[in-house]
């Protein structure tokens, strides 16, 4: 199976949040039932953040101008990194890559340690107290393996979300960026080609990465280094054990005379002598 990717074209997105709802519907993620459980977000962005029950939101950011604003939209969900920090951090192997590159959390195996939560540079996985497991977008693998597009993509009315072979998505994104640049969006960029070994969510950032809140050149060095601790720690422990073994070997025939104190003289007096 070839690598696949979702392509999000921020220039075509109308921020209708259809993807947000389709995600919740397909994955049967609940929303609160009473008015009191909702808070005013002071923004069109609602809910404000991802959660165990919200795996995708559209982020809204406003940049004021003399006439109108620049309203920058961004699809906030899992990027399905090739070099996935969450997968590396997971101590129990609950996070895995599918053949097509999608990264998912196996709830059966998840122990709720939240190492993935801490490790993801994008802050995507979210821990759920009730089930003590962590959730995130899994690129609707139940759909994609049945030759259907992820729920978010299939609901997108404007074609801002596409799904297909990663190579095709990248090519389309590059073409779109070229078009946008020609149309005056000089900061337009493709995101996801090489980041973290290549993402499986490709983004066309109409007004540049920063405007859309994307992390330029995300790093997971600490997670890598942390993982390096395992062999290093093993080697260090083995070294110490080796050194002490050597010590034990060297002292294998150790013995010493039993010496006690002569209270009167303050000298040590040999009581027994060990055989040499």
């Amino acid at each position: 199976m070839a690598e696949t990717a979702i392509m999000y074209d921020s220039s075509k997105c109308t921020a209708c949040k259809g993807c947000q709802v389709a995600c919740k519907q397909w994955n049967q993620l609940s929303s609160p039932l009473t008015s009191d459980e909702y808070t005013y977000t002071k923004s069109f962005q609602a809910p404000l953040d991802l959660s165990p029950k919200t795996w995708l939101i559209i982020n809204f950011s406003e940049e004021d101008k003399a006439v109108g604003i620049d309203w920058n939209f961004m699809r906030n969900s899992c990027f399905h990194c090739t070099e996935a920090a969450c997968e590396k951090a997971c101590p129990v192997g609950a996070i895995t890559h599918a053949e097509n590159g999608a990264v998912s959390i196996n709830q059966e195996k998840c122990i709720g340690c939240r190492y993935c939560v801490a490790s993801c540079p994008f802050g995507v996985p979210r821990w759920d107290e009730a089930t003590n497991t962590t959730f995130k977008c899994w690129q609707c693998q139940d759909r994609t393996t049945a030759d259907r597009k992820p729920a978010c993509v299939s609901t997108c009315p404007t074609g801002a979300l596409q799904f297909g072979d990663r190579a095709d998505m990248l090519a389309a994104a590059r073409d779109r960026v070229a078009e946008l640049k020609e149309a005056g969006f000089t900061k337009a960029e493709v995101y996801g080609e090489n980041e973290l070994g290549g993402l499986h969510t490709i983004v066309v950032a109409q007004r540049g990465l920063e405007a859309h809140g994307l992390i330029r050149d995300p790093k997971i060095g600490l997670t890598d280094f942390w993982q390096l601790l395992k062999p290093l720690g093993g080697i260090a422990a083995a070294g110490v054990v080796g050194a002490l073994g050597f010590s034990y070997f060297m002292a294998r025939d150790y013995s010493r005379d039993t010496m006690v104190l002569d209270d009167a003289t303050g000298q040590l007096v040999k009581v027994t002598e060990v055989k040499k």
Binding site: C16, V21, P32, T41, K42, E179
Partner: protein, 852 residues
Amino acid sequence: MTNHWTDLQNSDVVMINGSNAAENHPISMKWVQAAKEKGAKLMVIDPRFSRSAALADLYVPIRSGTDMAFYGGLYNYIFENELWHDDYVKAHTNASFIVKDTYSFDDGLFSGYNAEKKSYDATQWGYVVAEEVPWDTSPTGAYSWVTKPGTPAFTPLVNKKAKKDPTLQDPMCVFQLMKTHYSRYTPEMVSKVTGIDQDLLLEAYKMYAATGEPGKAGVVMYAMGQTQHSYGSQNCRAMSVMQLLLGNIGIAGGGVDALRGESNVQGSTDMGLLFGNLPGYLNAPTKAHPTLASYIEKETQYAGWWTNRPKYLISMLKEWYGAYATLENNYAYDMMPKNDGTPHSHIHMFEAMEQGKIEGLMLWGQNPAVGGPNCSQERRAMANLKWMVAVDLWETETAIFWKAPGADTAAIDTEVFMLPAACHYEKQGEVANSGRWIQWRYKAVEPPGEAKDDAEIISEIYLKLKEMYEAEGGANPEQLTKLNWDYLDDAGHIDITKIALGINGYVIDPATGGPKGGVGLASFANLQADGTTACGVWIYTGYFTGNYIDPDDPEKKKTIASMDPTKMKAGSRNNADEPLIEGTKPLGLYLGWSWAWPLNRRIIYNRCSCDAKGNPYNEDKVLVKWDGTKWLRNDVPDFGFQAVAADGTVTPTPPEKTLSFMMTNETVAKLFGSGMKEGPFPEHYEPFESPLDNQLSSQQNNPAVTVVESAAKTLGTPDKFPIVMTTFRLTEHWQTGGLTRNLPWLVETMPKMFVEISKDLAEEKGIVSGDNVVIENNRGAITAYAMVTGRIKPLTAGGQTVHQIAAPWHWGYGSTCSVGGMANDLTPNIGDANTHIPEYKTFLVDIRKQEV
């Protein structure tokens, strides 16, 4: 829409004015984006920066309610810079018609105004008649049907052909009158009225007027931002005039595209849901039409296609009353109520309710307690009802109007019945979209519990009423008891396919009184005024007949005797986009996908895509084309392109004999017309509540509007209420929220009622985002969360700073999931002069931070 959704991709410039297409018609943006990919420009004109504006190449903030000034300025710009599509204007409009010298315009008023009646004598705006041609009713004449047996007797009409000056030089020709009229709309003046910066205004004009170049296409997408004003109809007319000047009607990528605010609202108006309409846009009879003959004589046009109006009325009556409708009883015309000549719009209905003139109210998927203008007054009016029946999916605010905030529940005696309805996945039937496509929608699941299909509910009520009238009698029982109701299946339940066939129309089998051969008619051209055909909605004729077949295919005459919707045109799902004319490019017409009224035309007025000789203005976007001997066609022609004799001989109609706009008496489009209540040219007036005096004339408001009593009492003035407010909808919610505020998934995406406030106004009032604010005027006060944003900014208009605020109207008190202030508690119940659509979109308020 004159065009349709997929056609938006063919535009060169898309103007979205008074619409938030991206949010309220999400799919539209798919096609706008497709156009943009080909290099099209998108312009969005709106007081507030919406998600549509977020995608625009040019955003033009405008003072709410000043669209007409914007268009007037655009006409003037077009005239000044000679950018009109000259060939189009001469060939397809009434620009050359000479107007009678009784026409005049002075300081905001046209000639013929009666201040007391607040109405005009439109005859003062007529044309100079060059020739009068009586209808030829002889057996070989065009109007021979008039004398056919069975046709009711009436006086045949006389075609009055206007005097014309093809050079457009005559000072009394429409073109010259128009130029003069709009010369007052200078960029300085328009900027002053609209608050649009003059440079930005000219940039917008330049961008859009560029579509006047032959071969270029500009489309205007509009919705309630244009229509919900006391001059909303004139705004629509203004857009049409703009499109005509630029040659943008009847072409691919052009058009005046009304984005209908609800799924199937197009279908509901097609069905004649408005008080002044019968199905198929026939006017409802009034006291001016006491007899069938008088209706025919007054309502039938003397030229063009509407000369056939009697055929549609009589066929409709035959469908309604079946065998009971005979020539002898005027085809049951007398069964139809005659309007007393006063308006009975939504506003007037609630006014009458408040005055205790209405006893009962049946609500079908309507929630006026939240959606009506000045809706707190409507809630109070409902307390005068004896009974109410609310048919809906949820318990709406209207169904519980008696426990609304502030209602004196104990004093309300209204008995309310709640009937659970099936939702659209739980019933089948046809749905008409904005592009006039009629698509069959199938039932996916059974309705839950006691919920029923609306048609079944109506049928049950009807059958019970009939039974009661037959048993007990009553006033005019025949109106009900004689209705043709052969829409039931063997079990006595409603069979929607039988209704569909009745809507479609058929030749009446004299033996059974039912459809001859069990099939529908393929074209309304076959409908008759002699009682031999029946048809519920003439413009739908053909939709419920056999599947789409290539019109040039000899098989096309094959009719399929079936009631299976999948085999009908409305159920047709062929999504091939292949042009029929060899060598032309595909235009997304999709003739094989569903069926568009009339006659599957995808772009109406498509004769205008060609010049007088039948050569397309744009060879890359060919709809129809005269090849020298016949018409080649990619779309279904909107003109008589050929005549078929009884023996089957086909005679193509040469270009010079075809009609550009066959629905008008003029048979061309009207830049100047006598059909509107406020005058032949659209003119700028201020909203009834405006912070400014009219800068263009001393006539402040639409002179043809009458204000109902409850509205007059609560009008506000800018000294007390200095802030302009407008309302809008969000993509996350739908209308009054009856559906969406009960669905947690949707509530979560926009949980609370809010009001958008500019940073300047917020600073002035000491408001920050998240504060609770009170918005009030004479009609009410609501609270909402403040959303302080750069998306809305104050404008300078008429030499002063105008603050505008905007709030959605989705919230109410009737949900467990999401409740909030009702914006329509503040909107005025003042309607447009022609349609009485309320002035929801511009009114005055004051705003303050809520004291804790």
